[in-house]
Point group: C2
Chain length 331, copies 2
């Protein structure tokens, strides 16, 4: 096995986030799934955009956000995802290239446009996401750079992208490629609705020993295992997944890895401005520690620090100088 060229290669939705603050009343009025992620079609997306206040656009996408955090920490990364040949596609590609991440999937011609996520942020900082998948759902297996996948320590997959058919097939093939090359496969469950639809697939991947690192929040853990008790859920999975990481919002996070167990509290911050990207940046910090061979409790702490940074401002990607922040926090 050659020395890996990348620390992490990820497959995910290539999305531009459209973010605006909003009132609690507007969430009710628009009948949004508060705090969750909902897939929307063109008509609903337009309806929601029309109702939204002045917005800011920034690159998003769960796995892409995680890579941006990893790159900011100093990891070598590559991204696989599908944009359209339009301005939002250019924005996405620019932002990911500008932090040094390799991304060379050609933009897709014609309709639909690049994926967009309309994010309403309530005064408590909670984000409510409405995603129009656009070009993202047409990522073909042919877009996989198998040499790059085989040359990455970790293949990181986003559960959101399991929903559309073409990317699901691409991800299955990527898992085979990574495993054939002796690499690790990491998977984030993304959202309860994905588990409702594809939990059978995910449980099969786990039973077949195809997932080395699994990320979930406590709601997703319950949806996957059917066990309402958090500790029961971990107990049920810990012998099937070499490394299991479960985030619990303000209650911190826990991890179980090859017999080790560790917990971390949430990193204190002054004010939660926008929770968009919290889980993604937690994964970034954790994976950075993981690829650098840090102890489990330190991996969790790195995750907590990155998550705290991203929720203290608008937008799904960290803005602080992460290496400096971590040096300050970890001493």
């Amino acid at each position: 096995m050659n020395e890996p060229r990348y620390d992490v290669i990820a497959i995910g939705n290539a999305i531009v986030d459209v973010i605006a603050p909003c009132s609690d009343e507007l969430i009710d009025e628009l009948q949004l799934n508060r705090g969750g992620m909902t897939l929307v079609d063109t008509v609903r997306a337009q309806e929601l955009y029309d109702a939204m206040g002045p917005a800011r656009e920034t690159s998003g996408g769960s796995a892409a956000n995680t890579l941006a955090g990893l790159a900011a920490l100093g990891a070598q990364c590559a991204f696989i995802g599908q944009v359209a040949d339009d301005q939002f596609g250019q924005v996405f590609a620019h932002d990911i290239h500008s932090v040094g991440i390799d991304f060379d999937v050609p933009a897709r011609e014609g309709e639909p446009p690049t994926a967009q996520c309309l994010i309403f942020v309530t005064p408590d900082g909670q984000r409510t996401m409405n995603t129009f998948l656009g070009a993202s759902q047409f990522l073909p297996a042919a877009a996989l750079n198998e040499e790059a996948i085989g040359g990455a320590s970790i293949l990181y997959l986003e559960g959101y992208l399991w929903d559309p058919e073409e990317p699901r097939a691409a991800m299955r093939r990527a898992i085979e490629t990574a495993r054939a090359a002796g690499r690790k496969v990491a998977f984030t469950l993304s959202e309860v609705f994905v588990i409702d639809r594809h939990g059978g697939d995910f449980r099969a991947l786990i039973e077949d020993g195809l997932i080395d690192i699994l990320f979930a929040n406590h709601h997703e853990l319950e949806a996957l295992t059917g066990l309402p008790d958090f500790h029961d859920g971990i107990a049920a999975l810990k012998d099937k997944v070499p490394t299991l990481v479960v985030t619990r919002s303000a209650e911190g996070a826990v991890a179980s890895s090859n017999g080790d167990y560790a917990e971390v509290a949430a990193e204190p911050i002054e004010r939660v401005v926008d929770t968009t990207g919290a889980g993604d940046q937690f994964a970034a910090g954790f994976l950075f520690g993981y690829v650098r061979g840090r102890p489990l409790h330190e991996c969790l702490r790195l995750g907590a620090i990155c998550a705290a940074e991203v929720i203290s401002h608008y937008g799904p990607r960290c803005e602080a100088d992460l290496p400096a922040l971590i040096a300050e926090k970890l001493g």
Copy 2:
């Protein structure tokens, strides 16, 4: 003369800002005009964008920013400017509509795209702007809604847009329309390079008594009058322009209006994050006071409060609840 339908109608560039923090070294390396605004062509725009870090996109444009501030303060406004039929054009239109500003100029088909301003923000908060005018420079006189112009208390014009030929002709016609309807004409000089190119036009407009309210910063005042001393510049103009407003960055601002004279200090803030939009929001606050018939010193104070708000965060438009902020500051 009918009761005006709008407080302010503005003609300006319809721009999406692409904003990223950058180092002082990058400003030197790219040979940017630090703190200024430079027009760039497609090739240079691409070169600068390639060199830029991860960015956020928000609606901008000098006069449009001023209107957004006015609308947030409670004024009735309309905007005239040209976007292309593309995603950035949709972003611009959405953001201006979403704050209640009327804007109905149809998007222009085909190339070039909607105007973009690449804004590099150095650690001191100074913004360096590089504008690709795109569709904005093709605003035709036919796009003017003359009934709306005649029905607005103030017609507000942006000096930046004097540079391209079509919008210049449109603005000349708009001035005639406004004056024929007995309305006021306000003009912002925008930037020294515009005065270098069109100072003769501006001096003629002033001599002909066509400008009722003139906004300038101290550099622009010097460029227009040729007088290096600030007070000499004001003395030279004050009898030709009924209301003259001159901003001086951290030194505050002064105004002369029909024999009155007033000064205001800059509003103290914790930290300058991004000076983009400072002049635009100063104009918003001032004009709001003006249309509400407030005393001159209070108009200046309103300008200073709005400018201080916008430079305390990234982006060219105010984010705070401006009426609440003003109630707090003015008591």
